[in-house]
Symmetry: C2
Subunit: 291 residues, 2 copies
């Protein structure tokens, strides 16, 4: 019997629990969460087999820590202290440099695998967990050489078992790239939502005039502040750099408009249209709870 | 037999043609397009019954003009000149003030209905036409009082026949609101795409690290420059105003980050989360070609 512990039973942790229960034979999935209501929901929704306490970690084979990135900095060393020598502890945070630095000299560093599953939705909590969320998604592993080889294997078997592809990257490069393809999107979406809400006090007008395009660009503004404020804090320098470039591009677009240079505007858009080709590789069918 | 003419057989015109063929009895749908290849495709895809020429407009009952908003300024007066007195000519443009002004003193102003169907996707051309695109969507009608009452009725019967809801608005208010809930989303998405493409020359990295969140915020950057450059030109003042507010909000967010005020960042996001409630009303199932 493999004992998998999931700490943090939100969208990310809950979806891991659900798929691991399904995909693995002879597995017991234990859940821990500071929020008792989340544990109750996770049991009701069938995400986990049973509730656990920190003391139970001594029988863990695999632990997945899926809490906000500020909380995981304090939690991961404690978890590592408690697990047996042949257990692997994975995180799932959207920033990788700080967590790798924080654990660099931990006596059980070789039991830790720094991971970032590129998957999620704008929703949160156990009820947001989705079956198949990780199928065909990438899990980015950082500093793989610092994890004991047998424990790498153990974790990767689990991730492939639920359909994930693996990529390796160093933590600084991860944080720099992810600022562009994820964190900046969240800032742009939140500020777009803010701009429209501020202006359109009469929500009825937004409701009737907004189409699927607005919905798409503003979707991430539904995301959890408790998850995202710590991400922005940990990836401050990179996110500020992406923001500077984004703001400069918006100002350039505005300047072209002001000058009446709509051929320039046309070219800006045409050059950016090649995002089509790039996105072709990303698009996968949306996961469904009942899939 | 009702003769419906669709001028411009792209996503918008083609989808109108498709639904009108389906929903209306005793209807002939004629298609016109400057691009001969679009006409060929529209016939092959079954969007229209037959190809027409400008001379055929003398037998029109209803004309839908779905061309870029700069082209429609020149085209609509010519179409109005050619149609019989009991025909109604509707446009479908995303800007309404300039077209209403351009036609204000046309001798057949009472044959024109200024309309903006809030529907679409980021794709274009006849092959982008979707069955059911307009079901449950809003069609915004401007200056309805300037259209002959019987012709209003004729057009609205058609629009309700394909499942649309109608809202009335004056053209200046339309252009001001739509800048916030549609045009700004397109600028933000195009500039987001540009920022990421510029930085990530190695497309493989974007491909692997970008998730559905990025895809969602950048989706509109696939949109047609030929459609959008004229929209930005016609709605220049309003779009620049929204851009100024958006840039100011991004700069404020950046300032909070620089000051390390992540409680402030948290609050910004929490306040914007109420976009959830607003979006609840917008979300409708995506239309499918084979629906």
């Amino acid at each position: 019997m493999t004992n998998v512990f999931v700490i943090g039973l939100g969208l990310i942790g809950g979806s891991f629990a659900l798929d691991i229960r399904e995909a693995c034979e002879e597995v017991q999935v234990y859940g821990l969460d500071n929020n008792e209501d989340h544990i109750r929901q996770a049991l009701e929704l069938g995400l986990i087999h049973r509730k656990a306490t920190a003391d139970d970690l001594e029988k863990a084979d695999i632990v997945i820590v899926a809490v906000p990135v500020n909380a995981s900095l304090g939690l991961l060393p404690e978890v590592l202290d408690r697990v047996p020598d042949d257990a692997v502890v994975c995180d799932a945070g959207s920033t990788k440099l700080q967590v790798c630095e924080a654990l660099a000299s931990h006596p059980k560093r070789r039991n830790f695998l720094a991971a970032h599953p590129i998957a999620g939705t704008e929703f949160s909590g156990p009820s947001a967990a989705l079956k198949g969320l990780y199928r065909d998604k990438v899990n980015i592993i950082c500093e793989v050489e610092k994890t004991a080889f047998k424990l790498q294997e153990k974790a990767l078997r689990l991730f492939s078992g639920i359909g994930m592809r693996i990529r390796y990257m160093d933590p600084a490069a991860h944080d720099r790239h992810i600022a562009y393809v994820s964190h900046l999107s969240h800032v742009s979406s939140f500020m777009l939502g803010k701009t429209v809400i501020e202006k359109e006090k009469n929500e009825r007008d937004i409701f009737d005039m907004a189409g699927s395009g607005f919905e798409s660009t503003v979707r991430l503004a539904k995301s959890s502040p408790a998850m995202w404020a710590p991400i922005f804090e940990q990836n401050k320098a990179n996110v500020m750099e992406t923001l500077d470039e984004y703001i400069a591009n918006l100002q350039h677009f505005r300047a072209l408009m002001e000058q009446g240079d709509f051929e320039g505007i046309y070219e800006e858009m045409e050059n950016t249209n090649r995002i089509k080709e790039i996105l072709k590789g990303i698009s996968v069918p949306a996961p469904r709870r009942d899939a």
